[in-house]
């Protein structure tokens, strides 16, 4: 029940503010840390106000790289992450929309079986099948390549399920009308199903882009050259130093930069994204 009492509002806002604070404070801290010099950050008494080294830190992070250890500038890592996340998202959409189309609209032997096999792969994320997957990619000479970063993460039951659910809400008469209008399976897909799926595609793109962006284990495993590593693995490597102080201010700048593309994707696609997940009107 929705009532309007001042106390309810005050309590609700208090809880909301607390939640926002808990989520946002570490991010704020990272942002602050990226504006101080190394000594201030490591000194143990880091202020909560911005320091004066922001430009210097970000310039070094993006274009120069760290002063020591194995470091590639963030620019290259961002590019790597962007290519692989985009590739994973688009690849997943391509494969899952086609497989969902087959499963929903075509009557073929073992259709149910095919669907269940796809479904079962939900239980087989990369982490579980990591050794055989690595072996396959290595034998295909795809280590240290974008294809190697992207391909094993493309096959997706989630996408297939999402599209299947969506296709099943499309009235069957639409298919029948298309058949009477002389549209074959390909035309029906291209002219009717795809335009209607735009919001679902957007939703899936957002989810899968972030999924791809946040991959850690797989890129860590198959990239050996610094020039191929993604930003998420790169941040970790920046903190791994022997006999030296980690350059926290650079790591924090990198972390902030790493957050920006997924945030941008969510912000720009939010409207489509929400519609794709909740829309029922056809």
């Amino acid at each position: 029940m929705v009532e309007h009492r001042p106390w309810n509002d005050i309590i609700a806002y208090a809880i909301l503010t607390l939640g926002v604070f808990i989520v946002a404070f570490p991010v704020y801290l990272a942002l602050i840390a990226s504006t101080h010099d190394a000594a201030t950050v490591v000194g143990g008494n880091m202020p909560l106000t911005p320091g004066g080294h922001a430009l210097d830190n970000y310039y070094r992070a993006v274009f120069v790289g760290g002063s020591r250890a194995i470091r590639e500038p963030v620019g290259q890592m961002l590019l790597n992450s962007f290519i692989s996340a985009t590739g994973i998202a688009l690849g997943k959409i391509f494969i899952s929309i086609l497989s969902a189309y087959a499963v929903v609209y075509f009557r073929f032997p073992f259709r149910k079986t095919a669907f269940w096999i796809i479904f079962v792969t939900l239980m087989l994320p990369v982490e579980v099948r990591i050794y055989p997957t690595y072996k396959v990619i290595a034998d295909l000479h795809m280590l240290d390549t974008y294809a190697g970063l992207i391909m094993p993460l493309i096959a997706s039951a989630t996408g297939t399920l999402l599209f299947r659910q969506f296709f099943m809400t499309i009235p069957e008469e639409l298919l029948e009308a298309s058949r009477i209008d002389g549209a074959g399976p390909f035309r029906f897909f291209w002219d009717t199903l795809l335009p209607l799926s735009v919001t679902t595609i957007a939703a899936l793109f957002v989810i899968q882009f972030i999924y791809g962006w946040n991959q850690y284990l797989w890129p860590l495993l198959i990239t050996t050259q610094d020039s191929m590593q993604t930003i998420v693995t790169g941040i970790k490597k920046m903190l791994y130093t022997t006999d030296e102080l980690a350059e926290w201010q650079l790591a924090m700048a990198t972390a902030i930069l790493a957050m920006l593309p997924p945030v941008a994707v969510v912000v720009f696609m939010q409207r489509l994204f929400v519609r794709g997940l909740v829309e029922t009107e056809k």
């Binding site: 009308a177 209008d181 549209a183 002219d191 335009p195």
Partner: protein, 363 residues
């Protein structure tokens, strides 16, 4: 222009359920055929078989002299209007109508002419750029009609096209559909469960029940001479009064009638009664207690009960409970509730059926 012929058409589903049990009829060129029946009687299935959306288990469907059993829907030269219209939600009204023509490789100028002509006929001219969701129910219905018209097919198929509209619009669209069909004189098959729609639209009426044809014919002939009790109670609203002839009271009144020996059920339409104290030779007089009155202005329906009636007539949909009789009288004046009245019907207004209701007796 074409006629549609169904020869012993059957449909059996994989589970063994027989939805259509051998149907034969012929729709002449330019005729308007209505399939009517209660839900689940197979009328929509039959229409979808003509459209090619359902396979035919056995028998033949012939459109314009060509057996189409194995022909794809798009190749059958038919157009269909669906109950939920099935408009493409992402296409403008214009594109909805043009889509089927483009798929056939028609040139854009020709498409434009046809769509604009259809839009003019259906008064959709101002809406060609809109999307279906910006239209009202009646307008969507017209777009669906337009999509059928532009194709200039041999046959129009309508699957309960008016049932999503409100009552007033339904009547208006019913008239429009009839006028349009007359004007284009395209052979049409129309499915409905609404007997009034069926009566007003049809050149040929096919009454279906349980996957079979109960009666085929001109709507008025069917109304005047229903061949089974199912048809008698399904066609006409309120339904025909059906009374078992076992009760002595009725039988004794009909001793002069030769048909009575074979008959088990007597049917009388509500409007064929008159409230009168005079006796009718050869006719029937019923003593009724008035239970309820419905005044709708031009006419009044009187619901009365006879002496408690033990045996029930075979229960068909739309039939009255045993012992209850509806009398329709003109005007708004009628008896009061609880009053005793005497309803009489002339001999030529009596319908007689065999006891199982499957056959009409006499004429």
């Amino acid at each position: 222009m074409a006629n549609v012929t169904l020869r012993n058409v059957r449909k059996t589903y994989a589970g063994g359920f027989e939805a259509i049990k051998g149907i034969n009829f012929d729709v002449g060129d330019g005729q308007f055929c209505v399939l009517v029946g209660p839900s689940g009687c197979g009328k929509s299935t039959l229409l979808r078989m003509v459209a090619g959306l359902e396979t035919i288990s056995s028998g033949e469907i012939d459109i314009g002299g060509r057996v189409v059993n194995q022909v794809e829907p798009a190749e059958r030269d038919i157009a269909m209007v669906f109950q939920n219209y099935a408009l493409y939600p992402h296409m403008s009204v214009y594109n909805n109508m043009a889509y089927g023509l483009r798929n056939r490789g028609m040139k854009e100028p020709e498409i434009k002419t046809r769509v604009e002509e259809a839009a003019r006929i259906l008064e959709l001219g101002a809406m060609l750029d809109r999307k279906p969701r910006q239209l009202s129910g009646g307008q969507r219905q017209r777009v669906a009609m337009g999509r059928a018209i532009v194709r200039q097919p041999k046959v129009f198929l309508f699957d309960e096209p008016l049932s999503n509209l409100d009552a007033k619009l339904r009547i208006a669209m019913r008239v429009e559909i009839r006028k349009l069909q007359r004007r284009l004189s395209t052979t049409s098959i129309y499915v409905t469960h609404d007997q009034l729609e069926a009566m007003t639209l049809a050149d040929i009426l096919v009454v279906m029940n349980g996957g079979q044809v109960e009666q085929i014919g001109n709507p008025l002939d069917i109304y005047q001479k229903p061949s089974t009790t199912f048809v008698a109670s399904f066609i006409g609203a309120p339904p025909m009064n059906l009374m078992p002839l076992r009760s002595d009271e009725l039988k004794s009144q009909l001793t002069g009638d030769a048909r009575v020996d074979q008959a088990g059920i007597l049917g009388i339409r509500p409007e064929d009664f008159a409230i009168s104290d005079e006796s009718v030779t050869g006719g029937v007089a019923l003593g009724l207690t008035v239970e309820a009155i419905e005044r709708v202005g031009a006419e009044t329906f009187v619901y009365g009960t006879r002496q408690p009636e033990a045996q029930a007539v075979a229960a068909n949909p739309g039939e009255l409970p045993p012992g209850e009789v509806i009398v329709r009288i003109p005007g708004a004046v009628g008896p009061g509730i609880g009053e005793r009245i005497r309803a009489v019907a002339a001999p030529d207004k009596l319908h007689l059926f065999t006891a199982d209701g499957r056959q009409r007796v006499g004429d």
